[in-house]
């Protein structure tokens, strides 16, 4: 019953987010600020993670291809598929649930604790729209981050594969282009769009409805990370069944 109550409140929150819009000029500034905080601020860690994930995938694939009959270009093929289908959209999103999610929960939670949300409400402002809507719009640019992660991940695989002596550059580039299905990119970006919405709204929910003081802000951040990750993993399974089966 407790979880049903939370799910119900989450959808009521979404209704509140899209009603009584804040003044356009104010929203525009907020959206740019959120893009800076949530997206630009995440580029560094995303690039770092994607490069090394791609590199490790290439090395693991190479080390497991012990049969000499299997062509080495398969290293590039497997790395590309792994990075595009799962590692860039899902793995990076789980990391972002920690980085972006805890930032959103703690910033909104602190506003709740310090009565800043009450101050917005007293002024007659729809605090849900003011606080959450710009985050949702800012997170619509998240697929660009994932596109960069895909590119960097494959680049990492190339560096590790070629300079690690596992595969020649020619074989890698041949394998990279082999049996490429553009729909896989569509699938990856559909997932990413859903994740971006979840990354903006679930941590906002935990921050907005938190009660208590500084300790509870920390607990809400942890809880937001756990639930965002759980929902991402479950929706990954459902979307994969729906879109690829």
């Amino acid at each position: 019953m407790f979880y049903l109550d939370d799910i119900g409140r989450y959808f009521l929150m979404l209704k509140g987010v899209f009603s009584r819009m804040t003044k356009g000029s104010v929203l525009r500034n907020l959206i740019f600020k959120e893009i800076d905080d949530l997206i630009i601020g995440s580029l560094g860690i995303t690039i770092f993670l994607a490069f090394f994930i791609g590199a490790v995938v290439a090395i693991q694939t190479a080390l497991n291809l012990t049969n000499p009959l299997i062509p080495k270009k398969l290293i590039a093929f497997a790395s590309r598929q792994s990075v595009i289908l799962e590692f860039a959209p899902t793995f990076i999103s789980v990391i972002m649930a920690g980085k972006v999610g805890s930032f959103i929960t703690s910033s909104i939670g602190t506003m709740r604790v310090t009565e800043q949300i009450d101050a917005l409400e007293v002024m007659g402002i729809n605090s849900l729209n003011y606080l959450v809507f710009p985050k949702i719009i800012a997170m619509l640019t998240y697929p660009f981050v994932i596109a960069i992660a895909m590119f960097v991940g494959i680049f990492g695989a190339y560096i590790a594969g070629v300079y690690g002596g596992f595969v020649s550059s020619t074989d890698f580039l041949t394998g990279l282009r082999e049996e490429f299905i553009p729909y896989h990119l569509v699938y990856a970006f559909i997932k990413t769009f859903l994740y971006s919405f979840l990354l903006a709204t679930i941590p906002s929910f935990h921050g907005y409805y938190m009660k208590g003081g500084a300790l509870e802000v920390g607990k809400a951040s942890t809880s937001a990370f756990v639930w965002t990750t759980v929902v991402i993993i479950i929706s990954n399974y459902i979307l994969t069944q729906l879109l690829l089966s």
């Binding site: 101050a119 409400e121 007659g124």
Partner: protein, 254 residues
């Protein structure tokens, strides 16, 4: 005038406000006093429309809040200013941006006009040189003054203050109290202050209501409160050692 009639509010089955009936007049500083847990903050949040009462009504200059639709309630709230206990300043904004915020949200003024009004209000609260500072870079007393400036920048009809001088030294607390009183008279607004500071009562208590366990126990003004024979009020008023000594001295005719 704000007229409160038979106001009831509870949480999780526990009744916090038990039928409060009172009035707050324009141009006066109205104080709500009482011990912690007496329902002061809940009462103030009901007046602000942040809590919906279960029973009873609040009437603002002839308009009953519960009879209004959401848009009308929002319009009415735009006529209210609030000074929160912890100031509730937006910590990512400078002092100037904090004070300009209500103007940006609700007016179509040009930026120059807004800035002119902001500087006018900041001058009124003696904060002319702190415009570009962040709330974390100024003292508690200054934060309270910024909160007052933000509350009055849109020229509200009603000003609500939740323990405006809590956490301040006695001298700064008096400055804040006097500032609120001056602004109330100057702008001819209805000011309701939630406090348990007896210095505030002595300084600015033009009308005082005393809450106890969610009931309105007593109401009067700052001269009457020291003469009342209501035991609960007397206990509250003379709970500090200073006031006890003053009272004992009065009784001994010193």
């Amino acid at each position: 005038m704000i007229e409160v009639t038979d106001l009831h509010k509870g949480f999780n089955g526990e009744e916090i406000l038990k039928g409060i009936t009172t009035t707050f007049e324009r141009g006066k500083t109205n104080l709500i006093i009482g011990t912690s847990g007496s329902g002061k903050t809940v009462f103030l949040k009901c007046l602000l429309g942040l809590f919906t009462p279960e029973k009873g009504s609040i009437c603002y200059d002839g308009t009953t809040y519960s009879d209004l639709n959401t848009q009308q309630q929002r319009d009415l709230r735009e006529q209210m200013g609030m000074v929160f206990q912890g100031s509730a300043l937006f910590d990512s904004m400078t002092v100037e941006e904090n004070v300009m915020f209500p103007l940006m949200m609700f007016t179509k003024q040009k930026k120059e006009e807004m800035l002119e009004r902001v500087h006018q209000v900041l001058k009124r609260v003696n904060l002319e040189n702190a415009e570009k500072k962040l709330p974390s870079e100024i003292s508690g007393g200054m934060q309270k003054r910024v909160a007052i400036a933000r509350a009055i920048v849109t020229r509200p009809k009603y000003l609500f203050c939740d323990e405006p001088n809590s956490g301040l030294d006695p001298r700064t607390a008096i400055v804040i109290d006097n500032l609120i009183k001056e602004i109330t008279e100057e702008y001819d607004i209805i000011t309701v202050i939630n406090t348990h500071d007896m210095n505030s009562v002595m300084e600015i208590g033009e009308k005082i209501i005393f809450l106890r366990y969610g009931h309105l126990e007593w109401e009067g003004d700052k001269t009457q409160i020291f003469k009342t024979d209501n035991e609960a009020v007397t206990d509250f008023v003379y709970s500090s050692n200073l006031f006890k000594k003053v009272r004992n001295a009065q009784l001994k005719g010193l």
